[in-house]
Amino acid sequence: MTGHIARLALTAPAALLLASLCTPAQAQGTLRIAMTASDVPTTTGAPDNGFEGLRFLGYPAYEGLTLWDLTRADKLAEIRPGLAESWEQDENDKSKWIFHLRRSVRFHDGSDFNADAVIWNLDRYFKPDAPQADPTGGAFARARDPWIVGYRKIDDYTVEIDNPRPISYFPGALAYLFFSSPAQFQKTGSWTEFAKSPSGTGPFKITEFQPRVSATLSRNDAYWDKTRVPKVDRIVLIPMPEATTRLAALRSGQVDWIEVPPPDAVPSLKAAGFEIVTNSYPHVWPWVLNFAKSDAPFSDVRVRRALNYCTNREGLVTLLNGLAEPAAGVYHKTDPYFGHPKEQYTYDPAKAKALLQEAGYGPDKPVAAKVMISTSGSGQMLPLPMNEYLQQTLKECNFDISFEVVDWGTMLVAMRNPPTGPQSRGVDAVNISLAHGTEFSRFTTFFLSSTFPPNGFNWANWKNPEFDALVDQIEKSSDPEEIASDIRRAHEVIVDDAAWLFIVHDLNPRAMTKRVKGFVSAQSWFQDLTRVYME
């Protein structure tokens, strides 16, 4: 045995030397991306794994009636026509929407996309007894598009979708609802089998899927929009939840692109010649404050404003090596919907202390508050060091902050139940990143008084009659100028009332090799992969 070991010991360095002669195999025109997801998101057209799932296994392969314009880095991504060429509200009943479908669109399996396919997919999501019913996909659809109460085919290329009331922003919410091929489903027989050979209408086809290992997207040469036929042959998507592993994979040349490099690795990545791509996008990292507790310290607007004035956002940005921007509201300051709130939250400890004094707090009587924070989670950035930094800086203004540290799942359960419930463990705030888009539909679910849990996601129980009235106006209006003006006003109300502690906006960082060309970092959670190519 010892002789064998000795031989092994002698041959090991030789094997290593031989290995050094090998270079990683790379096909021409193949882009390899390491995602932060812990598994390959569902491939059926109803991706899980949050917005990252939509980003990589959603939009590249599937499409909605409406889509995002992801071509510009200098302005927010807006809603554009997708599988529907145009849409309008029924003149006689504005709760009904008429969608005119794009002709000559085919699924990856060659079957036609038409009104029958739309109705079949809506049945998949909203009709539990349909043969193609997809309980999980249906739950995603009901969460993101809760306003669909009916639908019907008008002709082969026209469908009607009904809402419970006139909702002007409804078409935006349809960008989250994808259409899969009915013919392919008939062929495969179940969603589990469909996942293995999926078929959508997008610019990429999902050609290989290995759970937990990888998914391969291949160029769809027959894509209906000839201006968006992908330049790259293939994209290999690899789930790599561990940040250090992603970093090593990029640096060793195993992948060409990683999502969310760790902030402390950015200087060394830049020094080693990698590109760090960032851009603003609709993201906010706040503390959502509890208004429902009988002894809630944050029920006093002076305390809430003091909290916002005592937050050293620039310091936090430095801590994150510049991978974030200070937040003075839910929307970014450059966002057209930011408006002109009276309260402009900068770091002003003196003002914060004065406000607290006015509210009856001081060094002898600090504001004691407990905040629920998670160890990780979708869009949560680096919750532990960031919150510890806030805890230290807020102490200077007489805030005595303690933490209830939970895992992501526990936090989600708390957020879906009333803030006074046992799930919330008596906390005064929750640090949760909420994904609002540029379209208004998601915004309403965080702030409307009709969306207190369990009916929605306004965990804070924040209620403001002016905000509710503005949303009512926005829903009924069909004048884009009027809608934009009301959204701005609604945001001003939220900021001036300090409904949340607005902390930072994430900068959507990703690192890539210099071989990756043509990528435009859209101001969105989603990105257009069709224009990327490998040099």
Binding site: L16, S20, R212, V213, T410, V413, Q423, P454
Partner: protein, 330 residues
């Protein structure tokens, strides 16, 4: 007492062995039953259900609750447990809440990936450990003993994940000769050198603890055996040194085998840390994912199958020990 070598003696020995194996198998069933109850209870103690995690944050409670009913998670816990047990007895581990795929297939796949690391890591760790431990013991008190002891202690005490990251930094980043992570292809048994070289760093990392444990144990056991009278007697009888070493090792084998069994069980269970560092889609990563997702069918199935492996490996070790040392059969 029957004379050794007679048919009756052999028959009695075989019967004792069969009884021993039967009783141990009976224990195994009870252990697995207990393990499944503990795993089921523990996962339900953590707040959150698979569907709470699966659905996006903005999914209101009503939508989550409706889906819970569709998946049967609204039923009392004992009903859910008994339903699961019934399916397992009929050979069906259920389907994942997240992927809709059958747990059996997914688990076999993950176990296959873990075996690809565990078997070479065990071979490497056990051989190195035995070699270093034996050499250290036979050179007791000399410089070689100290060097080999330092190596085994290092293997034992170095954290897996740290060593893994350090190896990646050296061999994948600074001197990029080996892949940093993954299996090099789309998974499955390595069929090319490209895929084979993905095994090197995780196998070396994984082999360090078994090497250390076995090295330390073999050293102390061999020292203990050497201090007995029989090696001296053998030497006095003029037996060649090689034969003496063989007899010493044979006497030192039972405790080492027991620990090898435990170590092999740990390796087959999959190291969550090593599989995370190397993004290796094995059983450790599979279970880790199931814990964070609260994917109860996957977690339950994995725990029971891994526990079965663990128990079966230990059973095999016990049988081997009993074969080597007849006193163990009693």
């Amino acid at each position: 007492m029957r004379a050794p070598g007679t048919l009756a003696y052999l028959l009695l020995g075989t019967l004792a062995m069969a009884r021993f194996i039967f009783l141990r198998l009976l224990h195994t069933v009870l252990i697995l039953f207990g393990v499944s109850i503990v795993a089921f209870s523990l996962i339900h103690l953590i707040p959150g259900n698979p569907l709470d995690i699966l659905l996006p944050p903005e999914a209101p409670k009503e939508v989550v609750e409706r889906l819970k009913v569709e998946f049967g998670f609204d039923k009392p816990l004992y009903v859910q447990y008994l339903g699961w047990l019934g399916r397992v007895v009929s050979g069906n581990l259920g389907t994942s809440v997240f992927t809709g795929l059958r747990v059996t297939g997914e688990l076999l796949n993950a176990l296959g990936n873990t075996f690809m690391l565990a078997v070479p890591a065990a071979l490497l760790g056990f051989s190195l450990g035995t070699m270093l431990g034996t050499l250290a013991a036979f050179n007791h008190g000399r410089a070689l003993d100290k060097v080999f002891s330092i190596i085994t202690i290092l293997g034992l005490s170095m954290p897996h994940y740290w060593l893994g990251i350090a190896l990646v930094v050296v061999f994948a980043v600074i001197w990029p000769v080996l892949p940093a992570a993954g299996m090099g292809g789309t998974g499955g048994f390595p069929t090319s050198w490209e895929e084979l070289r993905c095994l090197i760093l995780p196998v070396v990392t994984l082999s360090m603890i078994p090497m250390g444990v076995i090295g330390r144990l073999v050293r102390s056991t061999v020292l203990e055996v050497i201090s007995q009278e029989f090696p001296t007697a053998l030497e006095a009888k003029g037996l060649r040194r090689r034969r003496i070493v063989f007899h010493v090792l044979k006497n030192a084998a039972p405790p080492a085998l027991a620990i090898m069994g435990l170590q092999l069980g740990y390796l087959v269970g999959g190291s969550i840390l090593v599989e995370t560092v190397f993004n290796w889609p094995g059983s450790g990563q599979f279970m880790n994912l199931a814990i964070f997702r609260r994917d109860i069918p996957v977690l339950q199935g994995t725990v029971v199958v891994l526990a079965s492996f663990f128990v079966l490996i230990n059973l095999m070790v016990d049988v081997m020990q009993a074969l080597i040392d007849p006193r163990m059969r009693r």
